[in-house]
Symmetry: D2
Subunit: 305 residues, 4 copies
Amino acid sequence: MEELLEQLLEECRSYTQNGHLASYIPELAKADPNDFGVYILNSDGKHACAGDFGKCFTIQSIIKPILLLLALMDNGVDAVRSRVGVEATGKPFDAINVTDQSLLSDHINPMVNMGAIALCNLVKGNDYNEKFNRLLSLTRTLACNPKIDINESVYHSEKQTGNKNRALAYMLKSYGMITDEVEDVLDLYFKACSISVNSKDLAYIGFALSNRGKIADGYKRIFSYDYAHYVNAILMTCGMYDGSGDFAINVGVPAKSGVGGGIMAIVPTRMGIGIYSPGLDDKGNSVAGIKLLERLSNALFLSIF
Amino acid sequence: MEELLEQLLEECRSYTQNGHLASYIPELAKADPNDFGVYILNSDGKHACAGDFGKCFTIQSIIKPILLLLALMDNGVDAVRSRVGVEATGKPFDAINVTDQSLLSDHINPMVNMGAIALCNLVKGNDYNEKFNRLLSLTRTLACNPKIDINESVYHSEKQTGNKNRALAYMLKSYGMITDEVEDVLDLYFKACSISVNSKDLAYIGFALSNRGKIADGYKRIFSYDYAHYVNAILMTCGMYDGSGDFAINVGVPAKSGVGGGIMAIVPTRMGIGIYSPGLDDKGNSVAGIKLLERLSNALFLSIF
Amino acid sequence: MEELLEQLLEECRSYTQNGHLASYIPELAKADPNDFGVYILNSDGKHACAGDFGKCFTIQSIIKPILLLLALMDNGVDAVRSRVGVEATGKPFDAINVTDQSLLSDHINPMVNMGAIALCNLVKGNDYNEKFNRLLSLTRTLACNPKIDINESVYHSEKQTGNKNRALAYMLKSYGMITDEVEDVLDLYFKACSISVNSKDLAYIGFALSNRGKIADGYKRIFSYDYAHYVNAILMTCGMYDGSGDFAINVGVPAKSGVGGGIMAIVPTRMGIGIYSPGLDDKGNSVAGIKLLERLSNALFLSIF
Amino acid sequence: MEELLEQLLEECRSYTQNGHLASYIPELAKADPNDFGVYILNSDGKHACAGDFGKCFTIQSIIKPILLLLALMDNGVDAVRSRVGVEATGKPFDAINVTDQSLLSDHINPMVNMGAIALCNLVKGNDYNEKFNRLLSLTRTLACNPKIDINESVYHSEKQTGNKNRALAYMLKSYGMITDEVEDVLDLYFKACSISVNSKDLAYIGFALSNRGKIADGYKRIFSYDYAHYVNAILMTCGMYDGSGDFAINVGVPAKSGVGGGIMAIVPTRMGIGIYSPGLDDKGNSVAGIKLLERLSNALFLSIF
């Protein structure tokens, strides 16, 4: 399998030059567009990797499924479902899906910023420090990597420049969809997006979701079957922003991308996949990452359809 | 299995009273809300059924995946993809996803009326009679039932009252997204929606999609693997209108509903399922049908997530 | 005054080259972009004119205020107001102001196509021939010009290519907002838009509106004070499409433009103005026509604000 | 005239019971729904009044035209026009007129909150204290009332609960449409809305606009003719929210309403009118106030159309 990965990486390498780096904060624009790595963790515990799979980047939107998972673990399906909708929006990640009507929970989705910010308010904890620490801790547990931590400079940049997210949060606040202080909620969100991971970490996290709740370390059950169904289903319909439809056709597995350049893919019952290549397409998805996944899906019959 | 089906049918029977019958044409309002049937065709050729599985109803929107399949078979993936988008719209089935901008192919989707009408134009044939006959013939082949035919009175009712569909079709025409005569294209669409099927037929059609191109009759390959991926992926993200997200979480398989009261579900590699119960929820999906599928999915671990 | 008009015409002549001719039907694209004319009819009966004021062009959207007037004369204020809304849409002339909600009368406006088509259904007459003849007759009466007639080739072109208008009409039909046959209603609409007028005609029609119901010929009262208020107020807020706000600031009088290149302006109690210059801006308004009106308004203190 | 006012007030008094008090902050809900007053200041300096014309209330959105005026006086027409659009939005006062597209200056309007907040950033001053003092000072000058000041408790309530306005401001910030600190800009906006006035004050302010720049006190010119045209034109098309179209037809003069229950109406060249009645309709306009203006307009032929 390692050979296959090496070969596909070379075939797709030219695509790393087709994207553009996220530039809304200076830290992200410093990424090296030539970095390209992949890591696969199989259900039998075997792994395969190629390229810069150990290179770190910020998790960005890939924290959203983990945030959703924690919200589910803390509140159960019904409480989460009643506060944050699940339909695809057909809109970009930072869209405001409101015109003149009231904002309803059904207008938001855990995989777009507004929904993810609403989820932050649902994480349990005495204060927002504890809430963040619980999210970080879950991330480490899923990734079987206790060293995962946040990238402080990205965090501070996000916090300084995140005015559109502030707008979204105050919108939620004005409709009673977040009850805590907006800046506290946002601080958790900005920290969460700034967690630094590598392709291997994403493969491990994806593995736990593909394994429906059991992590790679000792196959311990961390969360219930139902929550995996919830998260994976949402990723299938909305994980790749307004590129989710094409991705479902061409790759056919639940996945989540982040503007840091990462993609986490979940092949239910079979494997977790982590990819890194920071050049993004217009929708905010890693260009070379998607190309690699398309070929991998064809080669290994990954599509669940 | 038959026992399980009987039991689930009884458990869900009360839900048949919770929906409302489609009423936009008199024919549909004549349905008997007490009818409730299910048919499952397994990949090993065995079947199970319960209730009114032989009761006929009009296929309505469940023709959309077949229409998409025929368009793919006639034109290939690229030609279809370039003419009709694939992203979820997050909107009801008859929404006009246009405001002041131009209408683009990315604004339409094969599972909402506008996209399906655009697909009609892509079906091959010397005239619209031939086009319809080819669609009917494909439907019969997939269902392994040469007796399938249209319900003439529904067809005439649809044709007379289908002014919103006319609006959608003229919109497509004005943007060059259909090139043939609007009334010809619509006639095909109205006929297609009026095809009369029963739960068993839907199970057989779903079987061919779950079997990725091979029909139940002799396991003959009718269409390619890729087209099954395409259709099933689209059904996963948009098959149940703006209830697709909840359905993905709670049932977890590609499916398509119609306002006639049918649901066709596809469990990739495992089975095709057909259900009939004409009471609909606000989104146009069979209430009891969804409840039955939720329980069936739990009982048989059908979710692909 | 004639000297002033001559001078302003020369000052604005270069703007005639800045616009583009309407091209959706071949007939309109045949206009001569160098044509530029203006006609003013004062409340004291005196007139002034300059340039190609006798040149004929199709009235296009400038028929909308006349259609509204006839609907008011035939049905009264309340019946018209309850069927067609009056708020500015902030949208282009052919926008569909619907997303997933129901279409309501408040979503349409007499000065955008959808509202104007709905008005056609409100004109009295035994059949659509009679309805059109009554509209033509009113136009002739207002313009004090019995020779006004339709441009047959524009009419036939409009009818053949008017698919977006067909879409709008079927949308109205599907919501019960027109009750007659769609093609009959559209035929009236296409004929109405194809009426051929010149700048002098527009000045006379505007005069009747500025004079609140009395036409230039013998100061006969043709319609009531109230209807002039209704029509002029609507023109002020929506007469120049999504350029109405700028026009209100820079010119400050009710006016209506058409893609044929005409503008009819109404200076309440003072004058009617007709202008022709077929080069249009992106919003469908005559470029040189607006420039001329801005200077005229400054020179003669026309703004009602 | 005073007699007429008394009579109309009595005729319309029952409408004071048809509205609802603004309730988003407790202070506004404390208003007395029976209060009803009117004050008219004529161009000849004579005045007429009736009812509770001296009763104070917060100016709320009626500060918007004054804010626009100050922005024009500080920056000129071109700078203001390039930063804040002028088309009617057809939307409620707090609508977010953005979906997935970029926010453009043309999407905002000085009479809806988003546009007004953008205007705050354009007011000149070394700091936001000075900016507010300049706005307050202009308000006093226009009203010829040096005692006008803010209602501190309304200001603090607005500031605490104004999360939707915060959302709008951060949206503007994220698109570079405000450059100062969001909380500073909002503080000015909240203070501005909390200025306490009575019907007489509004009549005086309206007088200056009707008089195109000359205030009642000594007929001193305070601002140029052009700015009056700008402000009055905007009020005509958008001053009464999504009730502007009906108001243009039924009353026919530029006006601005506020959720505090006030209406300021401007009859160009003739008079300024101030009205107070705190019961609001669904669009946020004073119910009895509009009724009174309709009758006043009929009685005195106020419509400019």
